[in-house]
């Protein structure tokens, strides 16, 4: 049923519906409301789960590695510095093939202290083996958490459900919070393929010498490929029950677009409005929203963008010494095709700076008026500070 909920509560509702049994989290703005909602749910019995009040994010993820290895469904949430602190264990969770689901609230990395939206924190973890799914609104957040468990438990890989700081975490939206029976129909109980079991003892994570390590890494790669292949089927199941789907990417007016803007997160919803306005003025512009970033939906993106004349990627992040990260991945996706359109990379909105319609229009205009990008990365709206 539709309710107006804060984005953070949407996360908590999804965790409840997924019948998570162990939660382990450490507070960090702006994830705190998620943690507080979940604490309350556990305390008042809304959610029948154990809540581990660990003493750091690193320990939060460490605890869940222990929990899921013992065959119990678990959840955590973090943001910014917290995710950075977890880095070592992000690799571990994926390498251990544990379907942990985490809500990751995109937040800028210090120094200086900045609690507002920035995608560098999650994208800096793109090599860890975690799936990454970027959300545009709170409905998508609830739905994605449920799908994350479904998909993650099928391929034995952890999933980050990414949502913007404040724009999603602290914004109230009307959201359809599904009924528990529907959620149960979609998401069966966790049935682990391996677990710590005194009846069947073995050691997880031992020394693996060169003769076997590569094969295990290959298995993760295969797992990611499987995830990409299975995602549509999971969405099929989801749509059958809940009537909604999102796609690994969402292509809006891309068929006839000369310029395609590529976005992710809440910038997407603003860009939808800009696209409408531009098209109304006769501009041949389209929008490609990237939801699934890991595994990277290479084929779909390549297919969609190939036909455009130019591609403009809006990155709310940056990989220093290189470029915006979505732009990087898009360029890589297009490099083995014939007639690749030039990719314009725009850096906007870092550290919570608002990405307004005007900025997006400016980005479009700049793209339209240049044959090729004047720079690898164009930082939009830099000021004297």
């Amino acid at each position: 049923m539709k309710r107006v909920v804060e984005g953070s509560q949407a996360v908590a509702e999804a965790v409840r519906l997924a019948r998570v049994e162990v939660i382990s989290a450490y507070p960090i703005t702006p994830q705190t409301h998620i943690v507080e909602f979940l604490s309350e749910y556990c305390a008042n019995g809304t959610l029948d789960a154990r809540f581990l009040r660990v003493e750091s994010e690193h320990s939060a993820l460490a605890a869940l590695i222990g929990t899921v290895s013992t065959g119990v469904r678990a959840f955590t949430a973090t943001s910014g510095q917290g995710l950075a602190l977890m880095h070592e264990l992000l690799h571990w969770a994926a390498g251990a093939r544990l379907p942990i689901v985490m809500a990751e609230v995109n937040r800028a990395l210090a120094p200086g202290w900045n609690i507002w939206v920035d995608q560098t924190d999650s994208l800096a973890q793109r090599d860890t083996g975690w799936m990454q799914m970027y959300c545009e609104n709170s409905q998508e957040v609830i739905d994605t958490v449920l799908m994350a468990y479904r998909l993650g438990e099928q391929v034995n890989l952890p999933v980050m459900v990414v949502l913007d700081a404040f724009f999603l975490s602290h914004t109230y939206e009307p959201v359809d919070v599904p009924a528990q029976e529907l959620a149960d129909r979609f998401l069966p109980p966790f049935d682990p393929k391996f677990l710590l079991d005194t009846q069947n003892p073995c050691a997880f994570g031992p020394l693996v010498p060169p003769n076997a390590y590569m094969e295990m890494r290959h298995s993760i790669a295969v797992g990611m490929d499987q995830a990409l292949a299975r995602f549509p089927a999971v969405e099929d199941e989801f749509e059958d029950i809940f009537g909604r789907r999102y796609g690994a990417v969402d292509a809006v007016h891309c068929d006839d677009a000369e310029i395609i803007l590529v976005t992710s997160g809440t910038i997407t919803s603003t860009t939808r409005e800009v696209i409408k306005a531009l098209r109304a003025r006769g501009e041949h512009v389209g929008l490609l929203k990237v939801k699934l970033f890991r595994p990277f939906p290479l084929e779909e993106i390549r297919r969609t963008l190939q036909t455009a004349q130019k591609v403009a990627v809006i990155d709310r992040n940056f990989s220093f010494g290189a470029s915006g990260i979505f732009a990087q991945e898009i360029r890589a996706a297009l490099c083995n095709t014939v007639d690749t359109p030039p990719v314009f990379g725009y850096i906007a909105g870092l550290g919570g700076r608002d990405v307004t319609r005007e900025i997006i229009e400016e980005i479009y205009t700049n793209t339209k008026h240049n044959e090729v990008p004047e720079k690898e990365s164009i930082w939009v709206g830099l000021q004297e500070v």
Binding site: S59, L64, I65, C202
Partner: protein, 293 residues
């Protein structure tokens, strides 16, 4: 020896511990006392290697290897899962070296015991980061050579008193144990097993390789640590009640130091200073145990 345990082993031969390894002996006794309903959380330490390379496991109980600093946290998670499944029989044990306990793992350990997580944390202490090649830890004793405290820069800091640090958390049970006193060790493990909440065992485990002693002297040196009051055998319940479990012979500390190559640079003056430190600590312990000194 009367160990008062089932005559059952949970450890296999063929592991790659150094000859005479005290850590191997300690694990053997631990598992004999705990039995097979045990899950071992194993953060990075010598035992990460001794536990066997893929696809082999030295142990007949489930093991989850974990990152260096996560001993307390992973155990908390395993425990939560077992409780969720309604399994109250299985014991969760973190088996960590001094590095993963005193230093990099201290936060997670402190966090876990502050929450009074229901598990046993065992630190087998060989007094340096042995697995990475004998570098000093905060458990390395005053006077020791290590590769990061070589020559004239031998360690001039005291060994951190980990038991006291945990006693300050008022945990239900904390105790020291020593591989040369197996009956006491086993008794303490069994006692710990029957208690709920956070339990900490600090086991003295000699390292022939790192201490520069002959492999056949592991037990002898470990025993001497107790007899010289350097490593007293005691337990603390609820962070308040101290019990000294063994009255040592109180040999001079020289008897312990002279057995080990890692101390051979110490002068008589150094040993005298150390003797005073040891005497002071022993007096303090006696006082805590309620004995007038």
């Amino acid at each position: 020896m009367e160990l008062n345990v089932h005559d059952q082993e949970y450890m296999h031969s063929g592991h790659v511990a150094c000859p005479g390894c005290g850590a191997a002996i300690a694990m053997r006794f631990l598992l004999k006392a705990l039995g097979d309903k045990t899950i071992v959380v194993l953060p990075a330490c010598c035992w990460s290697i001794i536990a066997g390379p893929y696809p082999q496991s030295t142990l007949d109980v489930p093991v989850i290897h974990s990152a260096f600093e996560t001993g307390g946290a992973v155990a908390s998670g395993v425990r939560a899962a077992l409780d969720t499944k309604g399994d109250t029989d299985t014991t969760v044990v973190t088996w960590a070296g001094d590095g993963g306990t005193f230093d990099i793992g201290f936060q997670a350990l402190s966090g876990a015991v502050e929450r009074n997580e229901n598990f046993i944390y065992v630190c087998y202490d060989n007094e340096a980061y042995m697995n990475t090649g004998i570098q000093r830890s905060s458990s390395t004793p005053y006077g020791a050579w290590t590769t990061t405290t070589p020559g004239a820069q031998w360690k001039k800091m005291r060994k951190k008193n980990i038991v006291e640090a945990l006693v300050a958390h008022r945990i239900p049970y904390a105790a020291t144990a020593n591989i040369a006193f197996p009956e006491d060790l086993v008794k303490k493990v069994q006692k710990a097993k029957a208690i709920e909440g956070s339990r900490f065992l600090h086991i003295f485990a000699s390292c022939p390789t790192g201490w520069r002693i002959p492999s056949e002297s592991s037990i002898k040196v470990a025993r001497m640590a107790v007899q010289t009051n350097i490593f007293p055998l005691y337990e603390v319940e609820e962070g308040l009640k101290y019990t000294i479990n063994y009255r040592p012979k109180e040999y001079p500390v020289r008897e312990y130091f002279k057995l080990q190559g890692r101390f051979k640079h110490l002068t008589d003056e150094d040993l005298q200073f150390i003797q005073e430190m040891v005497d002071e600590d022993w007096t303090l312990l006696l006082r805590k145990a309620g004995e007038h000194v």
